[in-house]
Symmetry: C2
């Protein structure tokens, strides 16, 4: 019966989704696998992480932050026209900064956060001690924007649809539980406005450029894969610096697998 209903769904699946339907499907992916539900974040928001665990988080996520403008430069290099590239270039500026506008950029702001946890910026920048699993997950983001279609590369950025809510909550909880971190939150402050602007552009691009339902499904899958990249980074942190174990959403489960 389950199999038949899947087939029935598939039969309808050739119809192009409207913008609202596409947004709803993308949001459903976020509800299932965005890292706001990861136990490492839940612990952070409940004030249950130690300073050392917050250091491990700031250090490892620095690697992610540091490749974001590389990732966006790859997309920039694949951009079809000046209008697209002008819009996308904003992202590189957001993270790398702009000397003339006195904008230090997101990477610098993340280093400030790492310093607020008690790490030395030079040590963080060196990458020493970052978990291999962090590198592998983050490098996969580069693989995706290099090797898939531009549509999928753009769609993989759409976790920004979900980040504003998570960042708002995080800022409140970090201030509440770790007041000594309060001076390091500029990164998040900036993202509160940057991320929604970027998400809006990317969502419209995906809607306008996915000409078939199959292309829309590829875009949705790219978002799913991006969520896995974020989730795996927290798994690695949790495994190395906190405890227990469970498979991420969608992964092999031991019970009921043997049929």
């Amino acid at each position: 019966m389950a199999v038949r209903s899947v087939e029935a769904t598939r039969a309808e699946d050739t119809r192009l989704l409207t913008l609202d339907e596409l947004r709803a499907q993308l949001r459903a992916v976020g509800e299932e696998r965005y890292h706001h539900k990861h136990p490492f974040h839940l612990m952070m928001h409940e004030g249950r992480l130690s300073r050392g665990q917050l250091q491990a988080w700031a250090l490892n996520r620095y690697y992610y932050q540091s490749i974001i403008p590389v990732k966006d430069s790859i997309i920039l290099s694949r951009g079809p026209d000046p209008v697209f590239r002008r819009a996308w270039r904003k992202r590189v500026v957001d993270h790398d900064g702009d000397a003339t506008n006195n904008n230090v950029g997101g990477i610098h702001r993340w280093l400030k956060l790492a310093e607020a946890t008690g790490l030395r910026a030079e040590k963080v920048r060196s990458g020493e001690g970052i978990l291999p699993a962090t590198r592998f997950a983050v490098n996969e983001y580069l693989n995706i924007v290099r090797s898939r279609s531009l549509l999928e590369a753009v769609a993989s950025s759409l976790t920004e649809l979900f980040s504003r809510d998570l960042i708002s909550l995080r800022m409140e909880k970090l201030r509440q539980h770790y007041p000594w971190l309060a001076g390091g939150l500029d990164y998040f402050e900036a993202r509160l406005t940057q991320a929604p602007e970027d998400a809006k552009f990317a969502l419209n691009f995906v809607h306008e450029n996915a000409k078939t339902r199959a292309e829309q499904e590829l875009a949705i899958q790219a978002l799913r894969d991006k969520c896995d990249i974020l989730w795996a980074q927290l798994d690695a942190l949790y495994f190395a610096y906190v405890q227990p174990g469970w498979p991420p959403p969608g992964a092999f489960r031991m019970n009921g697998e043997e049929s």
Copy 2:
């Protein structure tokens, strides 16, 4: 003091290592971070893994096995001459098989092992349920052989220097603790002779082609990175299907880090 002695070591580090010294340094990397010491393997060899855990292992490692001839084809495509390519081509044949010689190949043999754990070959081949962290780690192997020098790409294969001992032990322990798996061990049987042949060729290649100590160090680092790729796959398995947490060798440790 510690810093001075590091500098003293570095000052001597321009001297080219002999073949024996190079082999010794590569073996030291294996002693530190090859996955023979990973708790998931220790549990396997002590008979403490459940059938479901062995399934998770066979399923996830299938992804690794399936990209090995892709990885070797990339190296083949970068090979400098027919002599190198003829030697390296053997690896692609070892894994993909050869219809005329009635050699089914390593990928097929791994599927037999997965079937012996109770999984369906078709399901394993589909890749469904493989941990994202497995894909990220394995894809990093492709990144390395694509983006680094040929010397480093070849050196990253040198975990084969260590695999014979691990495979001998594993076959003995699998037969002892999981006799129902005994019919699925052809993959390991074949690797007992293939891996040492391949390691010998690769070691000589690295020795002959690393013209400076700096190049030798890059080759050693490539082996270290490859070990991390293997280790991270078992971390992901352990985290998803077994338990606790500890950082892999060389990674950030929470205590003593804040200095």
